[in-house]
């Protein structure tokens, strides 16, 4: 049951962004991110992570709801435009993953602190 709840929570985060962003945030142009942060991301975060809809604990690595959002948008692109377009987007994804890994690693090193 807990796993099912997690799956539904990730699907919920993907649906919130996929459905509401074009309706609520996109008309604001450059400020779309700010509006979306307040209206879409914050409630989704509150439900998924703060209320604990996604099962997580101190001994587990947290899988952020961003995974659900990113996967849903990519799967939609894959279903709408096919495999070749998805493969064409892979270099972007790899660079993004490289930068993100660097950030996670660097912050963990900073938090641990000092020279051992």
């Amino acid at each position: 049951m807990i796993q099912l709840r997690g799956i539904l929570a990730y699907a919920f985060s993907g649906l919130m962004v996929g459905l509401l962003w074009p309706l609520v945030a996109a008309p604001f142009g450059s400020f779309a991110g700010l509006v979306a942060g307040l209206i879409i991301i914050a409630p989704t975060w509150y439900v998924c992570h703060y209320l604990g809809l996604i099962p997580q604990s101190k001994s587990q690595v947290a899988i952020d709801m961003g995974a659900g959002i990113g996967t849903s948008l990519m799967v939609r692109g894959f279903l709408d435009h096919g495999l070749s377009q998805t493969l064409m987007a892979m270099p972007t994804f790899l660079c993004l993953a490289l930068g993100a890994s660097l950030a996670g690693w660097l912050y963990a090193r900073i938090e641990r602190g000092g020279r051992k």
Binding site: L79, D80, H81
Partner: protein, 112 residues
């Protein structure tokens, strides 16, 4: 992709998880749920503009499939946990749940 586009994409991927790791947890510790609201506005707002909103955004999109910066958050927090020494098998289920849930949402979005 040119070399500079590769660099800006890496930078775009770096910015969001780093800002979230630095700010989000601390704001929630201090201010409770309101801190999460504040963090969502002050992190997602500017960094979305840099990553996706500008005319020539940091994350350079190729082809029709949109790569969201949400991936960067997930991967960054994930690597942060791994570097802190939390073992990999403990979260395989959540990873699977994220992929399944995301695919389900993508399927629904594609039909709508």
């Amino acid at each position: 992709m040119t070399f500079s586009q590769v660099l800006t994409t890496i930078l775009g991927g770096f910015l969001l998880p780093f800002a979230i790791l630095v700010l989000w947890g601390r704001l929630v510790e201090r201010l409770g749920p309101f801190g999460g609201w504040l963090a969502a506005a002050i992190i997602i707002g500017p960094i979305w503009y840099l990553n996706h909103g500008m005319l020539e955004p940091l994350i350079v999109q190729q082809g029709a499939v949109f790569i969201d910066m949400g991936f960067a958050t997930a991967i960054g927090v994930f690597v942060y946990g791994l570097t802190r020494g939390i073992d990999f098998p403990s979260h395989r289920r959540n990873l699977l749940a994220a992929l399944l849930g995301g695919s389900l949402a993508g399927l629904i979005l594609s039909f709508l």
